[in-house]
Structure formats: C-alpha cells, structure tokens
Amino acid sequence: MNIYELTVEELYEKIAQKEMKPSEVVGALFEDIEKIDDTLGSFLFVNKENALKQAEHLDELQAQDKMEGELFGVPMGIKDNIVTKDVLTTCASRMLEDFHPIYDATVMEKLNGESSVLMGKNNMDEFAMGGSNETSYFKNVRNPWDTDAVPGGSSGGSAAAVAAGLVPYSLGSDTGGSVRQPASFCGVVGMKPTYGRVSRYGLVAFASSLDQIGPITRNVRDNAKILNIISGTNHRDATSMPDVDQDFLEGIDADLSGKKIAVPEEFLGEGIDQEVTDAVEKAIKTFEDMGATVDRVSFPHIKYVVSAYYLIASSEASSNLARFDGIRYGYRAEGTKTLEELYRKTRAEGFGEEVKRRILLGTFVLSAGHYDQYYIRAQKLRSKLEEDMLKTFEDYDLIIGPTTTSAAYDIGEKIDDKLRMYKDDILTIPANLTGMPSISIPCGLSGKKRPIGLQIIGNHFEESKVYNAAYKFEEKYNLHEELKEVQKELR
C-alpha cells in the first residue's frame, strides 16, 4: 500500500486506528513533492517546516489518545488565492510575491480546527484569471496524465497535486469554471458549491458575485466530506447563507431510479469534441441503466453566456483589483516621484498581461457611455439564463453535460488566442452566473489518454442531489485504477 494513493477517508481511518502516525503520512508526501513537483510545478510554496512541526505535535496527541478533529493528521493543499496566516500567499502574481497574510481565511480556520495539515500553496493562473495555468507569474503547471498537456485552470496546481497524489485534497476557487475545468482535465472530482454556501472571507476577490471556494478530491465521498466542513454562514461574509446544517454524505448512495435528468442539447452540439460527446452519451446511458429518466432540453441563451460572463467578471475584477496600489501591501515600483506615478508604475509592473487585459476591459465596460450597453445587458442575460434553468428545475432534479469542450490541450497550444480560450468556458459559466452548484467527475479518456469530465448541475442549495448522482455514477465508472498508474509512473 502506498500512502500517496490513500483518500481523505482512508488516511483519517488509518491514523485514527493508529496504523500510521501523522508524521509518517506528512513525511512521505513531502518526499514525493520533492521528487516530482519540479516536473509538475503544482506548488508555489511548500510549508515543510510548519507542517512537520504540527505533525509531530499530532503524533503526541495520537499517542495520548487525544485525537480531535474530522481531518486529524490529513494533509491538504490550498490554492494560493486563499489567505493563510503568516504563510506566503501570492495569487501567482508578482504583485503579491512576498505577501504574508495577517489572518486566516474562514475556510482555513475550519480546516485547521479539524487538525488538517497544510502542506503548501498550490499554483494557479494569476489572480485566478486563466484556464490553463499559463498565466502564473512563477511557473507553468503540467498535467500528471501527460506532462505536455495543461492541467487546466485557474486551480491547475490544486487539481494536478491531487491527481498526482501529492495531497489527498485541495481547495480551489471557481469564478467561471476554475475548480471544475482543471478537475476535468486532471481526472479528479471538483465541486463548485451554491453561491453563498462557503464563506469567501479570505479568498482574494476576483468577481465577488461569482466567486466560490470548492473542494478538489480523488473521489466523490471525500469531496462531500470536505464541503461538510468548509460550508456554513460567517459574519465576516454577508453573502454567506445561513447554516442549514446539511450532511452531504447522508443519502449519498440513494437509488437513482425515478430521478429526472435534463441534458441541454446545446451542451452536445457544435463546438464540442466528438470524443467528449461520445463519453457523455455513454454516461447518459449509464444514468438510464440506473433507472433515471434523461430528456433533452434546450437553453437558447447558452450561446450568449461567454459574452455576459467576461463583461461582468471583468467589471467586478477592475473594481476589486483597484486595492493593489503598492501602498499597504504587495509590490511597490521603485523610483517614483509622485503618488500618481507610484500607482501607475506599480500596477504596470506588478500585474501580468492577462490581469491587465481584464482590468482594462472591465474599466471600459463600466465607463461612461458603455455601462448600459454592455454591463446592464450582460446582467439582463443573466436573468434570462436563470429563468431557463429554474424552469428546467421545476421538472427535473439535475442537469448534466460535459464539463469542457475538449480534453486537456498542449501547453502553448491556445494561449495566444484569448477569445478562443474565453469561449472554452461556455459549459462551466452557467452555474456561476446563476449561482447553482455543479460538480465535475471523470467520465472517459480521450484518444490521447487524457481525462474527460462529466458535469452535474443542481438547483440552488441542492448539493446533496448532485453528490448522490455523482457517487452513483462513480460506482459504475471511475478512473481510480488508471490514476494509480499515473501516480506510479510519475514516481
């Protein structure tokens, strides 16, 4: 048995049963990180000294039978846009190259409270803007299945680290698909919860009305377990919804017979690779075999969602990123004579090209004369889309389709065509614009042996239904054995 293959639940059990010490688990995974992460690039900072110290402390508690916490001794990776007290948090940007937060994000307080061990901070696209992890200021991430391929983004480091067995789980953030798309490319499970399910306090804001933190794991049960822990209301985030005290593991294995599932025909049409369509058609058949009814529906507004998303997300980003002015924290340009010059030079030198592009787009959209034409129309499209989807949920339990238009592509293949990359987000954006929960789980392999993801979307606050369908599907199809081969190969 290899430690890197163990899931969150398995690690927790083995430590609780005293078959393993926390320091053994943590030590083994650091060895793996040192051995293979030079190739993968999934970590920006390795928290070795702190983690080993914490693990030794947990060893003592284990010996004294004082183990407390639902993740006692279980290692974690965290996307580098979630703030960790005194631990470097860069958002993969030069702007925050040496930023040491003075507080913990709410999700960190919760995970630390369960005695999980922070192994390090995961690489990402700069300020979560990108879909291939190629906009990171520091380095690219490679896909564990094929190191020529991108891992997806923006939570590319999180997905790659989980797939490679460097951590059993990681948190990502999802504004337009940034948890689900890399989970799909790396053959793991990624959940974007309902907007408001998880407190965003301590998540460096990109687009505040769309951002949501979500778990990335190697199986569905682990994912539900982590969401159980990180969800809940919080007085520091006024958009976090009141606790409904839900256990997402309860009823996760319920029978699917009688469930009604909708498949938008736009999700399997033009612009989607044939091998993706084929894998999803097979998945549809699997759901039918399990007793669910699957019908085709139409979402006529899907073709407009990329436009609406980039107008809205960039507008919110231009406002949120105004705080990076070089004064209170972050990069500060040298040799400037006036405050104005300090702002302009700091922001020109501290932000990368993709971030600047989106700030400029957002500033344009919000500027006088363009606000009504672009920003308001985009928000109206959002209403139309929600109408379509809420109407569907009157008759159906879930909506399914592919997570991405293709399997992972090669590093460098698309980065020069911005609009083409933006258009790739068409399948994941609807859940963000409407705030609905959505998961990606593996449903196939491409001809090049790169994973294909199935997306399952639920109505607001119906994560339980989403997890139930995902779990039952995973029993019929998963990439667990293939992933172990990938992990072995890397070592």
């Binding site: 006024a238 105004a322 006036t338 922001r347 500033t363 344009f364 109206k380 139309k384 911005k418 609009l419």
Partner: protein, 96 residues
C-alpha cells in the same frame, strides 16, 4: 469594427491607473479588447428591454450584527506588509 481604438485603451488605462508602457503594448491591447468587445456585441441581438438585470445570484437582505467592540488589528500587524512606513504610518511620495 468596434469602438476600441488605441486612444480608448489609453483613456481606460488612465482611469485604471495602469501605465501602458509602450505604443506597441497599447496596440496589442487594442487588438485584443476589440476582438472581445466585438464578440460581446452579440448581446445586442436579444430583446432585453423588458428584462430586469440580475446583479446577484441570491436574494440577499442586509445582515446586521450586534454593535460590539472587539479587538482590532495592531498597528504593527496592519503595517507589516507595506514596503515603506514611518512612525507607524504608511509612507507615500508627495501627492501634488
């Protein structure tokens, strides 16, 4: 053609307080933003005059908390990530 020109890009960059750095960069941004804005014009073909904009995914109401004093950040902590401080304050170049 959309309304994005290098002059528009320079104007917007000025509003966003970002140096464009070179004429070459301004032209690059112009080309890229033009393609995106041009694409987004597809929204013009939809009849949306009767539709309300949706600014947020959830129906939210103001949430009030008790007005109780709590421990604030210390001055040292608040200044700890700044590149330039003096006498417990952030230090910046002259404003005028």
């Amino acid at each position: 053609m959309s309304e994005i020109t290098t002059d528009v890009v320079k104007h917007v960059a000025n509003l966003a307080r970002i140096d464009v750095q070179s004429e070459e960069k301004a032209e690059e941004f112009t080309k890229e933003l033009d393609a995106i804005v041009d694409y987004a014009k597809q929204l013009d073909e939809l009849p949306l005059s009767e539709t309300e904009p949706m600014f947020h995914a959830l129906d939210l109401t103001n949430v009030m908390r008790e007005d109780e004093a709590s421990e604030p950040l210390s001055q040292d902590e608040a200044l700890s990530n700044s590149k330039s401080t003096e006498d417990g304050q952030f230090k910046v170049p002259k404003m005028l």
